[in-house]
Symmetry: C2
Subunit: 307 residues, 2 copies
């Protein structure tokens, strides 16, 4: 699972930072968190295939989080995409997409499914689920957690043969965690042959938000938390007023949610450098980094007893 | 008058080329020809002040020509702009801007005037006028000509004193081209003191179009013609089908319109290089260049007898 930051500026773009968008590559698909203006070009610069996008998750309908959607719909139509595209988002996203389809002159070559999300499960796929929680912004907004399902432990065929388990349905039962009885009456425990189940990876994206306990819950034990860091401590009142977080506040959420790694993003264009933000955040949560446009991060699987 | 190309790709952006937008700096204002996705960021890269934009002229409502407008409206509101912004464009632009204001969550801090243009005069300012003509695309589209008014000749105060014209209202009359009679009965001709009138500069932007006689008329004697060059000769049938021009066709229009300089732009992403396009165009019209993102061109005044 690879995360690429396509835009890391808050509100307005700068020459160095585009507008909010994060691409999650997982297997053959790309899942987007937000889609600010310029996303399709940033994907081109990152070498990401636009047509691999399966889902776009919109945190809220401020322009800097949604204005990249129309261009992607037009370009995917130029590319003659046929596969459905799923867009999930906060209240207003359905009206926005409808308005685009009515007033921008292009013929979609593929079905576009758009849905307003509610807290809880957004979608459940074979290998992962996406959940959402309300954030605390100046308009209704949602954070998203993409969590892979727990994977069953590794089956050890050599050990199965040593214990005299014939290949076939008994192997499947053992793999599913069931204990089995051989024809000679011997009972074989699943855990003798199958390693411990392996946790999936979990990444969480907040969109724009004040520090929020719902994000702490959504982010519990995540491998990666991508958190609003629009301001530094010098503008903590402004952060409260505008519905954003400071770098330190983001770090405090990372501590409370017990995440492995924190990425700060969505920086106000007033900051020429993020050095101080990073320093302030690391004083609270050491494993913090600052997002830059086109930064990519690989999320490794967590190790457990079975290796 | 300085022209900056902010996006030079056709249809979809590439890593090297953004979507259609041209900024014309004239005095303290900026006039935009089209405004594709990513324009506000390109302006930042070009060091252009977003808040200097007074007018946006939209050729047609394909997404790659209009999707930069919403972000500019949002960012100008973040900047607390108060001055009215004028948007002129082809049919559909009013509905598009209305749809954006209804579905993208931001509070405009300034009046937005949007108007559908018809062939002829778009607006007449103190120093220049903008005219428009229908183009020949797959949907209603307009090209624009920005032409400065003829400027009166230079007044020569030394010569006025030599001829005994007292400073004051007589000077104004002479400057306006009127002949005057001095108190001693002597007649002074305006042309004795005021140089020849000086032509203004004229630039023409086509937007997307097949070769069109209406563009030849609109572009007559222009200092600069910015012409659709979506395809090279290898795709001349495609150009006809999709409502675009080839580089050679653009050059032929430049010849017929007797322009001083031609800039090719709006290149299909299928072309990795524009070298051949440039070669083909120059074979027909020598003073041709290829637009690149962030290329700037100064348009000099034409010389005349009075220097």
């Amino acid at each position: 699972m690879k995360i690429t930051f396509l835009g890391t500026s808050g509100g307005a773009p700068t020459s160095l930072r585009g507008l909010s968008a994060v691409a999650v590559e997982r297997g053959s698909e790309i899942i987007m968190f937000d889609c600010g203006e310029g996303t399709q070009r940033q994907m081109s610069k990152a070498g990401l295939n636009l047509n691999k996008i399966e889902k776009i998750l919109i945190s809220h309908v401020h322009g800097d989080h949604i204005l990249g959607v129309p261009g992607i719909l037009q370009t995917l139509s130029l590319l003659n995409r046929e596969r459905e595209l799923l867009i999930y988002g906060a209240e207003g996203i359905i009206e926005f997409v409808k308005a685009v389809r009515r007033t921008v002159w292009f013929n979609p070559t593929f079905p576009i499914f758009v849905e307003h999300v509610k807290e809880g499960l957004v979608c459940k796929e074979k290998d992962y689920s996406i959940h959402t929680s309300l954030t605390d912004h100046v308009l209704p907004g949602f954070g998203y957690a993409l969590a892979e399902h727990v994977r069953p432990g590794k089956f050890n065929p050599k050990r199965a043969r040593e214990l005299g388990v014939p290949e076939g349905s008994l192997w499947s039962e053992l793999q599913r965690g069931e204990n089995v009885t051989l024809s000679n009456g011997k009972i074989i425990m699943s855990k003798e042959i199958v390693g411990s189940s392996r946790p999936g990876r979990k990444i969480v994206y907040t969109g724009d938000t004040r520090p929020s306990q719902s994000i702490v819950q959504l982010g519990k034990n995540a491998d990666l938390l991508i958190h609003d860091s629009n301001y530094d401590e010098d503008n903590i009142e402004m952060a409260e007023k505008k519905g954003h977080s400071t770098a330190s506040q983001a770090a405090q959420i990372a501590v409370e949610a017990n995440v492995k790694k924190l990425v700060l993003t969505h920086f106000s264009p007033r900051y020429e450098t993020t050095d101080l933000m990073l320093k302030h955040a690391r004083a609270i949560f050491q494993n913090t980094i600052v997002a830059e446009d086109l930064l990519s991060i690989e999320i490794p699987f967590q190790k457990n007893d079975s290796g």
